[in-house]
Symmetry: C2
Subunit: 186 residues, 2 copies
DNA sequence: ATCGAGGTAAACAGGTCTGTTCACATATAT
DNA sequence: ATATATGTGAACAGACCTGTTTACCTCGAT
């Protein structure tokens, strides 16, 4: 059931999970920040985990829309767009308060691949892969599937390193590696 | 102060953190598993966070020793060793019960780069970088620093993707990308 | 033989956590 | 005007968390 309160709750939760992680963010904190009653939460969701999954889904949609939007506006050709992805990443890393990737955090905190939270995080990464595959195919590059998988590795690696070391420059290094890999598939 | 009890405690903690994460692993669980009294913990460490840092340090030493050992035994030439790193990763990912990287989990759960736990995790990643740089330099490859950074991206990306999707094959994809990037620096 | 270091066991304190209960408010659509 | 759905507020239960206190044990070195 859609509802403005529900949406606001999910948005607030997504922001706090992003900033502080999942186990470290209590329900009461989210409710206070959102200005919503506890029973409203438990009317819309069976548990905190369900709220987490919902938050990951909307945040996932937001991220992929942002990534496509940035890359598509930075470059016209699909081959160029594959590279533009890493320019978009750099913009993200440079933003004040960059604190890592909420989907990576979800996969880390909910380790087992069978866990619904982990699965929701993986689904978002798959959407990134799909966007890469789309462009690799349009660009008529060799073995687009393999290329997209390698670019996904660089995407994840850039996020991890940028966060671990507080080093936004990881995006540019990933872009250089991506250029070499794409060239190889040309 | 070294002590067998202390060592056993740290080892047990490292294993449980690795498996279940940090916030999700309570002190009592660790103590029960290790068969050690709570006061022994608090005699050796001021807090849980200090225990976490100690666990990351010993686990970090263990990981880097294992990685060097595997890569050095799989290949003689430094250039080959850079590639062998990814063969070692594949062995790791294929092990039953592979559940992601405890250092990545630490960086994720303790987001702020200034956090001591985060810093301990980053230090371990730097040791991996150092090993890569060492080999890139010995192999007289172009811009070894840059190359090592790109290989670190692939290392992190492979771990992240392998865990997110339960896909050990990420190691082989990373190896292929690494080959291209190394070739480019040849 | 005695002293001190390291370890043990168990209870305790004080928080925080998720999730529930229940009585009440509001607003919209019929 | 009244029924239905949605939200509120506050208290509560019960579990779990980190860290402390206290009394006791054991064993090796002096």
């Amino acid at each position: 059931m859609p509802s403005p309160k529900r949406d606001h709750l999910v948005d607030t939760a997504a922001a706090l999970f992003q900033r502080d992680g999942f186990h470290a963010t209590g329900i009461d904190t989210i409710l206070a920040e959102a200005g919503v009653a506890k029973m409203t939460l438990y009317n819309h969701f069976k548990s905190k985990d369900e709220l987490i999954v919902a938050a990951l889904e909307v945040e996932g949609a937001r991220y992929i829309a942002w990534l496509r939007g940035r890359a598509d506006s930075l470059a016209e050709e699909p081959g160029e767009r594959l590279l533009a992805i890493f320019d978009a990443l750099e913009e993200w890393f440079e933003r004040e308060g960059f604190n890592g990737c909420v989907f990576m955090k979800a996969a880390c905190e909910y380790g087992p691949v069978t866990n619904p939270v982990h699965a929701a995080a993986a689904a978002q990464k798959r959407a990134v892969f799909d966007y890469m595959l789309e462009n690799a195919t349009s660009a008529r590059l060799k073995d687009p599937r393999n290329l997209a998988q390698q670019l996904l590795l660089l995407h994840e690696g850039a996020i991890a390193v940028a966060h671990e070391f507080g080093a936004p420059i990881a995006a540019r290094q990933a872009k250089r590696a991506a250029a070499v890999v794409i060239e190889d598939a040309g």
